[in-house]
Symmetry: C2
Subunit: 207 residues, 2 copies
Amino acid sequence: MTTHKQQREQQAKRPLRADTERTVQTILEAAERVLTTNPAATMEQLARAADVARTTVHRRFATREALLDELTGWAARQFADAVDTARPDAAPPLVALYQVTANVLSVKTHWSFAMNRAAEDAHPEAARIHAEVRATCARLFRRAQEAGVLRPDIDLDWTRRVYYALIHEAAKEGAGGGDTDALATRVVDTLLRGAGAPAGLAGQTGV
Amino acid sequence: MTTHKQQREQQAKRPLRADTERTVQTILEAAERVLTTNPAATMEQLARAADVARTTVHRRFATREALLDELTGWAARQFADAVDTARPDAAPPLVALYQVTANVLSVKTHWSFAMNRAAEDAHPEAARIHAEVRATCARLFRRAQEAGVLRPDIDLDWTRRVYYALIHEAAKEGAGGGDTDALATRVVDTLLRGAGAPAGLAGQTGV
DNA sequence: AAGACATGCAACATCAATGTTGCAAGTAGA
DNA sequence: TCTACTTGCAACATTGATGTTGCATGTCTT
């Protein structure tokens, strides 16, 4: 006799059967999809979204927490990949900035729930990864400042937070699968130039 | 005999006793405080934070929902006030922009949970108020654009969303009661000028 | 001081979500 | 084909949060 508990305990030791692996994927993707619009969704709802019985979900993930953790870790790794691929420490600052933005956007539009959750901690690996990315981002911005891309007088931490916020905002827009490159262009443009008209032009009636 | 249910049903009809009014205030403030860091906080936790028995909370608010709605409405009204006080339709665009930012920040640093929730809907009044504010904001930005404060080629809706995001970000920083004016200055500055160095200066090695 | 009202406390009822198990039926893979 | 594994289903146990009530005690208000 093999109880679910026992099955799960062996999960790590043995390779999964092909169809099972697919099921796990399906569940994770459905979970992401549902949780993005309703973070408090029930296991039942997640199961139905994956077109699977609730018990099946429990067979693969011991607890709800375990499922969320899996999602979180998955997204964090994708995140790290997206950043590294852009060669943030090697490419010229502006190029790297643009590339990082585009890559991250494409991940974030598809894994928005999991990525937000990762920032919360409670998941050591994800926390570590996000801290690393933050550091990488800080280095990139420092290089950008030294290269004259960013104003010398600006607060780099504030700038990084603004950058994150802009990406977050752009990701909402691109949720349905918009043009990542166009969004990235807009994010970088807004970050660097802002929305104001260059000083010294016509119509400065305010102040 | 007066059951709690009956008490609550009369709540609207009668003026509250002085100490009760204070209790209600205390509960709302404590709820805001706790929910900001833990949106899933229990009624028990909210009660303890207000230094009150759980039953007392239930006596004043029929359900958890009712409590949250009260918070939401309260915050929405403060929000509307903050915007209107800045004379967004009359003052010169830049002045209005700065003033609105400062006012909203001071509200948002103290009612961050309730303000975020208001955007979600489920509360007709709050939804209406937020829609109005959004419209006011749009008008202000249009005026700013016509006055040459904002670039003529920019997407005003994106700009508004960026503006909201910047305020949100600044509000996090000022949570402990930071200098609202300084934060507002930074928000407006970032929105208008961005973080980039003016074009045509030294060191444009990137791209 | 007296009546009305508010509070804390303890106990209870309900309910929804989580997690478990056994079993029958179906599928993967050798 | 045969075996091992997986799934759906139905049923159950548990838990934590919500909401209710009665009562004793204390505090306003007049």
